[in-house]
């Protein structure tokens, strides 16, 4: 494919050069130089820092890294900590719901926006604006709205609907769903925009062909356009997924992990033990566990994505 084209082109331009040397260093030199920042970042930052993380999770590091190795002590403590275990469970529940809802709502909204509507820019900005505002304050606003006395419940009850109940924020069993409401509010808009960009990249010929064949619009979306958007969908899943794993600000602003510890999440545990608790070893052990989990999910995907030789997504 591209490679053949490349070779043909290069060969015509560099006659007589030592082929092997040329192929290793000079061929596609621009491409190699261009990729250098990525290679460096991967090697130094992502691989280097991951090794750093794993190594120091086996030490008794406090505020700063130190080399006092303590074996699996940090992990034993981690697994014995109620707060950590609650955090993990919460992340699984919140994560699966958030992924499904963000994708579904995002896609539906994107399709609606794709119908040649008036005021598209306005609609898009409205759906996207929560993404731009700092969660310190928007979290507070959601706190007010969901506060039983201040917010919706109190207002509607005052207006005469006395049985109306919406107290999820104070209910340990429902608090995750309260966070989900605010989380979707913040994140759906961006997924919508991303998917919309995907829809817009689908070749017009496809639509024409589908129309000529008399396929209903909704079926064209589901069975023709959606599969063609695989790249953008994968991007969305990764984006949503990384947002879920890193979930921190939202929880701090909305519940601070409460009531009790019922809405704690792993990233909050990591961050607090790292900076407030001054226990780097413990924080890095928790963070290593998060990395391992991500690996377990990412490796099968990477295999599917790159395993089949030469297949392009």
């Amino acid at each position: 494919m591209a490679d053949t084209a490349v070779q043909t082109a290069e060969r015509t331009r560099a006659p007589g050069a030592s082929r092997v040397l040329y192929n290793t260093f000079i061929r596609n030199l621009s491409a190699k130089i261009a990729a250098a920042p990525m290679v460096l970042t991967v090697l130094v930052v992502f691989i280097g820092c991951t090794i750093w993380t794993v190594y120091y999770s086996f030490t008794a590091s406090r505020l700063l890294p130190n080399n006092k190795l303590v074996g699996f002590d940090q992990y034993e403590r981690l697994f014995a900590t109620a707060r950590w275990n609650v955090s993990v469970t919460n992340l699984i529940i919140y994560g699966s719901l958030s992924l499904v809802f963000t994708l579904t709502i995002g896609f539906v909204l994107a399709v609606l926006m794709d119908q040649k509507i008036r005021f598209e820019s306005a609609f898009r900005t409205i759906m996207l604006y929560p993404f731009a505002l700092s969660f310190i304050v928007t979290g507070l606003v959601w706190q007010w709205i969901m506060n039983p006395t201040l917010g919706l419940q109190g207002t509607l009850r005052n207006m005469g609907w006395s049985s109306f109940t919406f107290d999820w924020l104070n209910n340990p069993k429902m608090v995750l769903y309260a966070i989900l409401i605010a989380g979707l509010w913040q994140g759906v808009g961006f997924t919508m925009v991303l998917l919309l960009a995907g829809l817009r990249s689908v070749d017009e010929e496809i639509w024409k062909a589908a129309r000529i064949d008399g396929i209903p619009t909704w079926r064209t979306y589901i069975s023709i356009v959606l599969p063609m958007m695989r790249g953008v969908l994968v991007t969305s899943v990764v984006l949503i997924g990384s947002g879920i794993v890193r979930l921190y600000d939202l929880v701090v602003a909305l519940t601070d992990g409460g009531p009790g510890i019922s809405s704690e999440v792993p990233a909050k545990y990591v961050y607090q033990y790292m900076f407030s608790g001054g226990n780097l070893g413990q924080a890095l052990a928790a963070s290593t566990m998060m990395l391992v989990t991500v690996l377990i999910i990412v490796i099968p995907w990477a295999y599917l994505e790159f395993g089949g030789k030469g297949r392009r997504s």
């Binding site: 406090r62 505020l63 700063l64 130190n66 900590t81 109620a82 707060r83 507070l140 706190q143 039983p148 006395t149 107290d167 104070n170 209910n171 340990p172 601070d256 992990g257 409460g258 009531p259 009790g260 510890i261 019922s262 961050y271 607090q272 033990y273 790292m274 900076f275 407030s276 608790g277 001054g278 226990n279 413990q282």
Partner: protein, 413 residues
């Protein structure tokens, strides 16, 4: 007169040493609320007036996850500030070991700080291998029971004189629809056990747990009283009664919606800003009205080692600031605004309000190390997690609570 002479003499000394040129000294801290900022402004004023240098204010809100990472990163990244507020104790130890914090021992000796620090134990967390690396600038205590005059007027009873009378008044308060104990969500609950410890358990218990890290003391009968009191408290508190910030609890107390609250002395700043007058709108009981010693600790300032090639005038400014922070003039001005107690009592405290006067009296009996002073941040974080969990989850019994508390204390280092 004598005091004035000292201040004047100090002032001339500073002027003499730095009059050559004015320099900028950056100071980081997390005192961003109105009351706190007003207190810091006093430090800045004294510093600028007396040395002619310029205080560059770098406020970063939120101690733990807000300011801490920035302060620590900048120190290890080689872009240190001139002076910084920091958590005392073990947290800074590694920065000291790495040679990143300035040794203040010479300044301490020159000023003979041992002579005027009201309690020598305050300096312990600043001391590492016999040398002094930070100066505590105030004394804060959690040990206060705040009571609402209005709430007790409503039920027609006198304001309780101690914890036991207060607990006895709960049924009647509830009948009148008043919240017996107001509480904000999150960390404020974590200060309560320590207060109960010194009030109900006594000084020995505090020392055994906070200083000696004795798990047996936690499992003993004295601590059990504390755990049971916590249990009694959580029965009166439900999530929908809790308010977002402790300042809101202050408002509840002034309005008579909540009868009482255990919280640190900084609550008073809020009560006063809201127009409350001690003795009239609210009452304060140090050590729950039972104990005769307060637990406490101080906010401290560190002075990072500045990179090579720094203007000597800046280093001199650092020295001057260190001296000034604990000078009588700055101490008085700062602490009156901050609502905390000064680290030295050779200042004119007649302007201090009724509650602060009570505290100063108790200071004479010596200061007990509070948990947030004597325990590492790690241990504090674990205890906070436990307390928050216990408060909300009734399936954790008093026995579980004691057992887990003991375990955390035993693991503390």
């Amino acid at each position: 007169m004598k005091k004035f002479a000292v201040v004047a003499a100090l002032a001339t000394a500073f002027m003499g040493s730095t009059a050559v040129k004015a320099v900028d000294l950056e100071v980081t801290h997390w005192w961003t609320s109105a009351g706190e900022a007003a207190a810091v402004a006093e430090f800045a004023r004294v510093f600028e007036e007396q040395t002619g240098n310029h205080w560059v204010d770098s406020a970063l809100s939120g101690s733990g996850t807000g300011a801490n990472p920035v302060i620590i990163s900048r120190i290890i990244g080689g872009d240190p500030m001139g002076a910084t507020q920091m958590n005392t104790g073990r947290d800074a130890e590694e920065l000291i070991q790495a040679g990143l914090m300035r040794d203040l021992t010479d300044i301490a000796n020159e000023m003979k700080i041992e002579d005027f620090y009201v309690d020598k134990s305050l300096l312990e967390p600043c001391t590492y291998e016999g040398k002094i690396y930070c100066f505590p600038v105030n004394i804060h205590s959690w040990d206060w029971l705040w009571l609402s005059t209005k709430a007790y007027e409503k039920i027609g009873e006198p304001v309780p004189k101690d914890w036991n009378e207060y607990v006895a008044s709960w049924p009647k308060l509830k009948e009148a629809g008043i919240l017996p104990f107001g509480l904000a969500t999150g960390w404020p609950i974590s200060g309560v056990p320590g207060v109960l410890m010194s009030g109900l358990g006594g000084s020995d218990l505090v020392l055994a747990i906070n200083r000696d890290k004795s798990g047996d003391a936690v499992r003993g009968p004295e601590f059990r009283k504390v755990a049971e009191a916590m249990d009694a408290l959580r029965k009166e508190i439900s999530p929908d009664m809790m308010v977002p910030s402790f300042g809101d609890v202050g408002n509840q107390i002034l309005a008579g919606e909540a009868a009482g609250n255990i919280h640190g002395d900084w609550l008073q700043g809020d009560l006063q800003v809201a127009g409350g007058v001690p003795g009239k709108d609210y009452e304060c009981l140090p050590a729950l009205g039972l104990g005769d010693q307060l637990t406490g600790g101080g906010d401290a300032f560190y002075f990072p080692v500045l990179p090579e090639g720094t203007d000597p005038a800046v280093i001199q400014a650092q020295t001057d600031l260190a001296k000034l922070l604990i000078s009588p003039e700055a101490q008085l001005a700062f602490n009156l605004k901050k609502g905390s107690m000064p680290i030295r009592l050779d200042v004119d405290l007649s302007k201090a309000n009724a509650c602060m006067q009570k505290a100063i009296k108790l200071l004479g009996n010596g200061l007990l190390p509070s948990g947030d002073f004597a325990l590492s941040s790690d241990t504090q974080q674990q205890l906070q997690d436990l307390n928050i969990e216990f408060l909300d989850d009734d399936s954790i019994t008093v026995d579980d609570y004691v057992a887990r508390y003991a375990e955390i204390i035993e693991q503390a280092d």
